[in-house]
Symmetry: D2
Subunit: 237 residues, 4 copies
Amino acid sequence: MVAVTVWNEYVHERENDAVAEIYPDGIHETIADALAERGHETRTATLQEPEHGLTESVLDDTDVLLWWGHAAHDEVADDVVERVCRAVTDGLGLLVLHSAHFSKPFRRLLGTPCTLNWREAGERERLWAIDPDHAILDGIETPIVVPEAETYGEPFGIPQPDEHVLSSWFEGGEVFRSGVCYRRGSGRIFYFRPGHETYPIYHDETIQDVLANAVEWAAPTDRGVTQWANVNVDASE
Amino acid sequence: MVAVTVWNEYVHERENDAVAEIYPDGIHETIADALAERGHETRTATLQEPEHGLTESVLDDTDVLLWWGHAAHDEVADDVVERVCRAVTDGLGLLVLHSAHFSKPFRRLLGTPCTLNWREAGERERLWAIDPDHAILDGIETPIVVPEAETYGEPFGIPQPDEHVLSSWFEGGEVFRSGVCYRRGSGRIFYFRPGHETYPIYHDETIQDVLANAVEWAAPTDRGVTQWANVNVDASE
Amino acid sequence: MVAVTVWNEYVHERENDAVAEIYPDGIHETIADALAERGHETRTATLQEPEHGLTESVLDDTDVLLWWGHAAHDEVADDVVERVCRAVTDGLGLLVLHSAHFSKPFRRLLGTPCTLNWREAGERERLWAIDPDHAILDGIETPIVVPEAETYGEPFGIPQPDEHVLSSWFEGGEVFRSGVCYRRGSGRIFYFRPGHETYPIYHDETIQDVLANAVEWAAPTDRGVTQWANVNVDASE
Amino acid sequence: MVAVTVWNEYVHERENDAVAEIYPDGIHETIADALAERGHETRTATLQEPEHGLTESVLDDTDVLLWWGHAAHDEVADDVVERVCRAVTDGLGLLVLHSAHFSKPFRRLLGTPCTLNWREAGERERLWAIDPDHAILDGIETPIVVPEAETYGEPFGIPQPDEHVLSSWFEGGEVFRSGVCYRRGSGRIFYFRPGHETYPIYHDETIQDVLANAVEWAAPTDRGVTQWANVNVDASE
């Protein structure tokens, strides 16, 4: 059992009826329920809460943080971003979802533009296993098919991934690295592309299974063991 | 100007009229002409020649070797394979083309199965830049479109590439890492997917430009400088 | 509990009294005992047995294979090497020890010369954690100190590792990547430098702990799930 | 010829007589002279200048930026740091020197703590080639010996490097990845460890040669070609 916090900017669901119909309680609640059903201990946090619900104590009690944002990246306070990034390098797992490719924490931790091509055309997506033995694909049959999705296309402005797990095919002619892993300090980061506010993708059982696997994968095993600090050391005996 | 040897098993063109019509003198001659037009010094070699045309002296006079094979991988003599692999780790550049993903030298140098999914359906292929700044894409507009191609699909049984340059989209629903780079010893290896015997793909100007760029990229810069040997060394002063 | 086979060429111990004194039953028995004490199910195999003790059935019953060789690399039959390499890409874990950097299976799986500088001077070695959070270092205090060791030095003729876990410092002035990880097909490979026939290094508790951790890490989790084969597939629905 | 700007916080040289004796005009001038002698077009900038001497126009006219800092990392304005990081992802080359491992731009671009162990004991350092064929080592004999150096030790809190060029051995018992390469967007980054304010290391011919090679390596080849932006694209024909 992993202690999970699902963070959502929670804007579209409150302002757009079509989105509210798919995610009446917000994307965060749908994901949190799916992870709870799979045995994880979940809580949620949103942009609107004080400190966006990501206080030091919440982060201290969290093993893996999921991040969903799209319309309000700039409204996330820089000190909270710094706190999250420091927590990640101290061992917090981070799952970055869909349009959060452009979120402040992801761009800060990767150091790259994290830009891409995109198109809203309700196209069919197929996610192929690049690394079929990866723990995140444990028990997952590939290709994973998403009947209607927002299209993302390369080039994706990210560093060479430490592990490349999945790539997507889109009906309209694009490909995209949809599942990539990074290590930053003691923390593990997984970017997972599927999931747009106007499609019920986070209600899909297989997508939920991938997220649950990723939570297991990203959970810290040596949390706090490695002290990342400049240390003045003596010469060896 | 780079000294290039284009190797071809040269089987389909001699046994299949449809292939002979597209490549009357063999795929090797078409590629060699294209590279010569772009300023490289080219020669060819085929399976049917003594030592498959890859004697020590030919390899010594070669900076970059291109390898095309499909139907006769097993007919390539193991001692020639060993000679080619040793030349690569000594600095020879190697371009591995299309169905040569399953050739003895490529599998020997990578150490993996190099297997994939495939389908002969004359589907449209689009090659996207994953690393648009890579030297192999210098002056190349992406996506590169191939109107009719054999389809390859992931998972591709290769090690994590040192550099991932291109990925393909196929009309029928597959994706594939179509341009990947490896370093082995002092040698540089580029696998490039396009090019099937039943399609005129090697007559395409853009495909020829990519091959010419790859030849430049793979050409040894420090040829022979690094002596890969177990050396008994003295302690430092 | 992991099913482990410890392979040893078993030459020095039978021909050299000084070595026999340190490893009376052979290096393989010392390592097998240490892994058994740590809960693994162990067996051994040696060069002198039929098929070097590595029959198909032995490999089928093995999760992780440890390989120690030094004086007799060339005496290992190529068909056994092919069998071992295929087993690795099918998911067998492989731990490559010390002078086995130059063994046929390691060189075949990496595709590089695997050469290095060396010196037999009984120098002090310190192994530093490059990746202190890695599972192979779970519970291990670094630097690991080996009072007397054969010295290895860079450049080490290997591909860029998938994971770089440890690097060594040597009294005489060398550094070396002493713990590196590779993925080949479905198999995991760990090269671990310490351990020379003329020093009691495999009797060291910490070295034994690292080997036990590496066995856990290399054990297949998806054994046999991924079928690495060229497959003719239909177009997607 | 590459357009180089050498940036220095320029604090120690003005406040410490011992340092001023070694670098009377500042570390930046010594490095700039060495690069100019090797054919590069050089200018300098320091912390004390308006915008730290790194205005948009200076960065626009710069191909490769060298960064030296130690005592005043926190005094570098965040908007200048952002400007430099954006310039890097747009193609600017960045050479990060010695104690600048802890500078704001390096930590921002890597996303990790960038921490290490250290000791000021005037120890002997030997830099070994991990990748002897790398362009940055063109014509350089290794090991490079630095008679007296500040000691750095692993673990170094950086992401897995894209290329690992050099590692250091220190008299007192440490090892360190002293030359590592990263790609961020279109920019190339090289971290090079040698060079402390209390030792005349930047007066060393070989160290200067490495810096000149690194400038060549980091210079943008496709500057401005790749526009890293989120782009709404049409479906393919």
